[in-house]
């Protein structure tokens, strides 16, 4: 078998910081969502390390999240693609989302 070693990225990701072009006024932290709500990640805030950590588990701009559960004091649970994630409230604060239309 022979394999090529060069590949082009099929779609260059936008240079803007948002995934859907939603105005910043319509963005809100994931922590403010209600159970059952479906949202799209617009931006990640916080330290480089925190953002990289979120990206590595599949939370990145453009990704659709469904809120499964919000505990009063505990972390919130969201469904992202095919995985279920428990996120600390502090982390949820750093994920800016917009409502899915």
């Amino acid at each position: 078998m022979e394999y090529a070693s060069t590949m082009e990225m099929p779609a260059v990701f936008g240079i803007t910081s948002v995934a859907t072009g939603t105005d910043r006024e319509n963005q809100f932290p994931l922590s403010k969502c209600m159970p059952g709500e479906v949202v799209i990640v617009e931006r990640l805030k916080g330290r480089n390390e925190t953002q990289a950590r979120l990206e590595s588990v599949g939370v990145y701009p453009g990704q659709r999240l469904t809120v499964f559960r919000i505990g009063r004091r505990s972390a919130m649970i969201v469904d992202s693609s095919d995985m279920r994630l428990a996120l600390d409230r502090r982390l949820a604060e750093s994920i800016l989302v917009c409502r899915c239309t």
């Binding site: 022979e2 090529a4 099929p10 910081s17 990289a52």
Partner: protein, 712 residues
Amino acid sequence: MVQDRLSFVLAGNPNSGKTTLFNALTGSRQWVANYPGVTVEKRIGSLSAEHGGIEVVDLPGAYSLSTHSLDEQVARDYILQQKPDLLINVLDASNLSRNLYLTMQLLELGVPMIIALNMSDVAEQRGIQIDAGQLEAELKVPVVEIVASQKKGVKNLIRVARETADSKVAASPFQFSYGEKVDEYLENLQKNIPAGNHPFDMHIPSRWWAIKCLEEDPQVLGMAQRDGATGLNISAVLHQCLADAKQEKSPSPARLIAAARYSFVDSICRKIVQRSEDSSRQWLDALDRIAIHPLSGWVVMVLVFFGAYTFTFSVANGEILSWAGIAGSPVGWIEGFFAWLGNVTSAALPDGVLESLLVNGIIGGVGGVLVFVPIIFLMFFVISLIDDSGYMARLAYLLDAPLRMFGLQGKSALAMAVSGGVAGGCAVPGIMATRTLGDPRERLATILVCPFLNCGAKLPVYAMLIAAFFQKWEGLMMLALTIISWGFALGGAWLLRRLIIQGESPPMMMELPPYHLPTLQGALWQAWGRVQLYMRKAATFILAASIVIWVMMTFPRLPQQQAAQYENDPGALAQAELAHSAAGRIGKALEPVFSPLGFEWRTNIALLGGVAAKEVIVSTLGTAYSLADVSEEESGSLSQRLAGDPHWTPLKAFCLILFVMLYAPCVGTIAAIIQETRSWKWGLFSTIYSTAFAWIVAFVVFQGGRLIGLGG
């Protein structure tokens, strides 16, 4: 890597079925070690001779090749430094998009690689169809579909792996465009990282190092800084790139790289993944509504804890085996073996120092620690089943909020329950169970408070003292002691996190994997791995410690003339020998320190002996109170003796219970602390701080009790 045979490495996301595949590939030809300098477990094995005996290493699960966790750091360092002949990237077919994010990064390393597309059965159940052939065409590496839990496709995987490793065709790095701007940054950085240049001399393409620099990877930037000229150049280019991005109001290069990767992954998934209705989702949601509900979740958790605990101790102590008509118990068999070995040795050697060293020091000491092997094996077997089923993550989620108040995390609860949170556990497997805790500070705090809980070895001491002084409130006392030990453990953790192990805990981010049936073989191998680690420790550190304690309780010997006075009274002879020994002298020397707690020299000796193993307290007290050879089962007679002794009062007994609960851990536990923290310092700290803590608590209770007229 200098070696004669090929080496395959399994890499993939957590919960991708990597370890299940490792078990399927290696069977019984596997063992566990630690990666150098850390306590992340290294699972090594080999393929059968039929398949060339190739070495297989199961790397810790990683979501990316960044270093967000110790596991990820270890996985990355291993690939960079060991340069395996082949990477087998295990992908969870039911969660392809996120798994491919790591694949992209692995491909860029230029290490020969194949993909094991695992759990296609689960993907099918969830209405996901994947075109493996198309995935192979897109990524240009071989893709083999497997179901590791059923060993389906494993032989084919081995065949493809050997072909790929032999041909080395995939060794050229996968070059991926991150867009014009980022590619330009990468080229600028690459000019400063010539391939093979120190410190980047690990045969990894310079583009990979450039990507890591642009991602501002702290470890890679640190490496660059250590090499003056390279570091300065890289730093200058990096600052220029970041300044450019800022000026253009663009996201940082690190964000653009991640976005480009996901963009590419999404484009692949659109081509190769077909979805139909996912009926399993309803089941997952229904189960999770129960398992993580604030009320039903706690009921389920108590039932799981109770079940795990009951199973472990019922099997270890033989109760379940007796239903099957099997006499005895695993713990009893090991005790019996060491008793037999002691008797045989005793019979074969003349009475004297050598016989005493072998029988009481080595066989008694090491045997006393190895009796925990069945408990450790069973406990980790159950933990592995819970973990593999997907429930462990729910349990950690449920307990996270309450435990964070004390500076711990959800997973700390399991380690604490195993340690004796449910009375009768053992701190050694509890401390080993803290390996599942990601944050090193929370892990250390958990390790240091686990010994406060009521392990099985403390129970004979409690039972003896309760029988002597609190017989009317026996049940209530045991319940109270369980609550008190939890209170001290949580309070201790709170204090440690505020005074010694300071620092903010990282925010919790945890995958809750889908539920599935664990494999029996996998759980057995996991448990056996832990037992291997424990037995290695028993053969080294514990053996040495047992000899030291024996020496202290044996020497100097009682002069012949004095011993002759007790010729007809073995109990008095044992007491006199103990008093004359170094341990006895220390006990007497310690009287000024411990008399404010109500303890006299004989109690001090017993506490000193208790450092070897807490059960020894009962037998040493028996010797010190002239009962010759007192076993745990015969502690009733000691209870009567203490109840009738004018020096003893219920207040003193209660203070001794509290002191035993809190003071220095036993040798086995200290060894576990040293092994798990990889530092003598923490073993020593645990011994000193817990003894000081125990002294303060016993002093306050004793003196306070005297003040309010509870005797003394």
